[in-house]
Amino acid sequence: MRRAAILVLAATLLATGARAQSLAIVHAKAYATPGAPPVEDATILVRDGRIQAVGAGLAPPAGAQVVDAHGAVVTPGLMNAATQLGVLEVASTDDAVDQAVKSGPLGAAFDVEYALNANSGLIAVARADGLTRAISLPTGSAGAPFAGQGAALRLSEGGDILDRPRIAMAAVVGGMTSGQAGGSRAAQWRILRNALDEARAYGAGRRGLAPRDQLLNHLDAEALAPVLDGRMPLAITAQRESDIRQAIALAADYRLKVVIVGGAEAWRVAGLLAQARIPVVLDPFADLPYTLDQIGARLDNAAILDKAGVTIAFALTDGLSSVYNNYLAGEALREGAGLAVANGLGWDAALKAVTTGPARIWGLADHYGTLAAGQDADLVIWHGDPLDVSGWPDAVFVRGEAVSLRTRQSELRDRYAPGHAGDAWPSDYRR
């Protein structure tokens, strides 16, 4: 009954079309500040797409659309901290993949924002699973170890999904990727450092080297400028402890903001990471020595890092979960967060790792991550526990707008639901 009531209300919201001027979700168990206890019987007031107030038993203003959550859990919309959403459609065919460049002049200058496809089927599925934000990171370029620049997405409907462009500079280091640097990760780190040196010189207008001695072209040199002045984090995908230690040293030597992505063995240097304030975007499913770079992978990586004071977020970057990473960017994120809870991370800390954690890591906390007044009103009303597989979203709001939970899959589900065996006409006529 409760679920039906919410669905009816959500459908009503959708039917009215445009963004509600004023929306009130009442009788919610609101995790307004992930990490803190929920507000029971909360009213969440939304105006012009932003959170206006959250409080127990607040009266909805006159004229507001009211959604009764009937005591259900309401959280901020979830965020996946490293995906290829918007730049990947069908992984098996090159024409439907824009996440990497194999040749050409672009290295650090490669920027995924120009390829983003708001109508991607993957985005619709992620949104229906309660994901309202995601980082889209490039996975490789001809200028390795740099992979290029990622973007922050908001998974709203209507074509405009770019939250913030150039949110991070991605680099990939490790045994399986060292080939492009000549076959050694030592060369990867040297090339990385040299690129930063050349970019700094380029930015300072120095022309110390003859052009033919420079390894970096002007596009890449320009792209690295915000990394050097600390405005853009350098997101280094690395699994092995030795590479994570190199990343820590790089951050100190160049005074960079570094984010570790992957970090299967990050737990080994949890104290150093906390001290250096280097956050980790980790895969909560990673517990196998998939390659020799992640012999130390273990399911309590998240719990150990959190306890040490490292800011964590989740993404499904392990090689074994390539389907989870993008095709299940919302559902698997929730399952992974639950798995981290099963392995020692607090439930509240896990919710942070899929909301405020990534918001802080990628510099989006000014407008996303909590239900504090003034934040974008990204909200999910949950059926059950958002971090267990028995739960699901009953309603999803992005910047105050109720978004459709329809996907190609839900249309197929409705078309092929049991009970049509006696139909005289083929299923193509059913819509």
């Binding site: 012999i295 074994l320 390539s322 095709y327 698997a332 809870v341 028995s390 739960g391 899959q409």
Partner: protein
């Protein structure tokens, strides 16, 4: 010479009290014929040497018990004796000398059966070398029915102990899906061992992996080889089955009339085994129309398809699969990563189950293979969301009895009924929840995994002496 191994194989089977399985591997006794021994192509020259690990009779008391055969018993006891399930029910008598495990507040299920694993032949860690020479697939010919997955299996793959910690007690290791005929599968007990033979499920029928769709035509077409189209794939199957029928006819004639035995052909051995009904066909197929073509193909050539694996569009042809008695082996939620996976829906398992099709959740990945009950939980939730009432005692069959049926072992494993093998999992809570873990796992009555006892948690040779695994805070 070739006959020598037969009595040994059957002796091993007899030791494990599996006379039925041994008998089923042998052809009916010929009335008056020169060839009285089983035909050489039907023998298993790599017989199981599995022996149950040391065990004590055990009474598990007070659990929420899902028996795998459709029953849920709250506060039930389960008695395991001599490696078998002896009794299930409330307040069982406690025989002298029996170990008692208090399972109040915990859940008990049959051991999980993973019908589609690559553990051991996709062994961790992967290296750059494996990118070209992966042990999971022979891709030198579209017909690789001559290869046997067990010859690739590394028993020290850390995947096995992870799966065990997720409650898996039996798994079928399949070759990959690049060729049309990928080769023979092997069914293993998830027990730590140094040889594959010591893991081999005694008497389990062999499977043949076949594959439809994008993988075979992609693998071979990209090399300019046959097949490069789906119609080529069908032609490839048909030509091979025609040859196999001729091959089988020669052996049948030999068995009937004697004379010189036909020349052995390893590919044809396996296909003839399918035509004999001894080897079960496990067919990788995503799309509805391909499954329907393969069903007609099986009728044309005179064999049975046991299960369609991955089967993302099975929900589109549920009545056909029910009529044919073919199981659908599916993921809970994987979709989209290739064109033939675009139409996967999360309600696939629930819709099929509701229409009377035998449904199994599978892993195909060592990551998923650690949490098949959670996969079933996801599929159950999707069904509930679509309005289907699927109780836990039903959903557990998707990862226990149904896969056991697919392996032809449902008389022996897959449910906690008296007389069946004592493959049992005690879960910390609801096995479909992401928060629950397998606390204890029994195989043939032996406690092979105990989360609370480091001495009962196997560690692979590879993970021994690794500095990076030490020093946990």
């Amino acid at each position: 010479m070739r006959m020598v191994s037969r009595p040994l194989a059957c002796a091993a089977l007899a030791l494990a009290a599996l006379l039925g399985a041994c008998a089923s591997a042998a052809p009916p006794a010929p009335a008056a014929s020169a060839a009285r021994e089983p035909l050489p192509y039907k023998l298993d020259p790599y017989p199981s040497t599995y022996k149950p690990l040391p065990r004590v009779d055990t009474l598990i008391v007070g659990a929420v018990l899902l028996d795998g055969a459709g029953r849920r018993l709250d506060g039930a006891d389960l008695l395991l004796k001599d490696g078998k399930v002896v009794a299930v029910g409330p307040n069982l008598a406690r025989p002298a000398g029996v170990a008692v495990i208090d399972a109040h507040g915990r859940w008990v299920t049959p051991g999980v059966v993973d019908i589609h694993s690559h553990d051991g032949d996709f062994a961790m860690p992967m290296t750059a070398n494996d990118l070209q020479t992966l042990d999971v697939s022979e891709i030198s010919d579209p017909n690789d029915a001559n290869v046997w997955a067990e010859h690739s299996v590394s028993p020290q793959d850390p995947d096995f102990s992870r799966a065990l910690a997720g409650g898996v007690t039996t798994l079928q290791v399949l070759p990959g899906s690049d060729p049309l005929f990928g080769g023979r599968s092997v069914v293993l007990k998830d027990v730590p061992a140094n040889t594959v033979q010591a893991m081999k499920f005694p008497g389990a029928p062999y499977g043949l992996k076949m594959a439809c769709g994008e993988n075979p035509k992609g693998t071979f077409g990209a090399k300019g080889r046959f097949p490069n189209s789906r119609m080529g794939e069908m032609a490839g199957y048909r030509e091979a089955w025609l040859k196999a029928r001729d091959y089988k006819a020669k052996w049948d004639k030999y068995e009937r009339d004697g004379g010189d035995p036909p020349a052995r052909d390893l590919k044809m051995d396996t296909l003839a085994g399918v035509l004999d009904g001894d080897i079960r066909v496990h067919m990788h197929c995503y799309k509805a129309e391909e499954m329907a073509q393969v069903i007609d193909l099986s009728h044309e050539m005179g064999y049975r398809v046991t299960a369609f694996h991955h089967a993302v569009e099975a929900y589109k042809i549920a009545p056909l699969l029910r009529r044919e008695g073919i199981c659908a082996v599916v993921w809970a939620d994987w979709w989209g990563f290739k064109m033939e996976a675009l139409d996967a829906i999360r309600e696939n398992a629930a819709f099929l189950d509701a229409q009377g099709v035998c449904v199994t959740l599978h892993s195909d990945s060592p990551m998923v293979g650690q949490r098949l009950t959670v996969e079933a939980g996801k599929a159950m939730a999707a069904g509930r969301r679509a309005g289907l009432d699927i109780p836990p005692e039903r959903a557990i069959e998707w990862v226990t009895l149904n896969p056991a049926r697919g392996l032809g072992l449902d008389g022996q494993i897959g449910s906690l009924e008296p007389g069946k093998d004592a493959d049992v999992v005690i879960w910390s809570g609801d096995p479909f929840s992401v928060y629950s873990k397998a606390d204890q796992v029994f195989i043939d009555g032996a406690l092979v995994f105990d989360r609370s006892d480091p001495a009962r948690r196997p560690v692979s040779d590879f993970e021994l002496g690794q500095p990076v695994l030490e020093g946990r805070p």
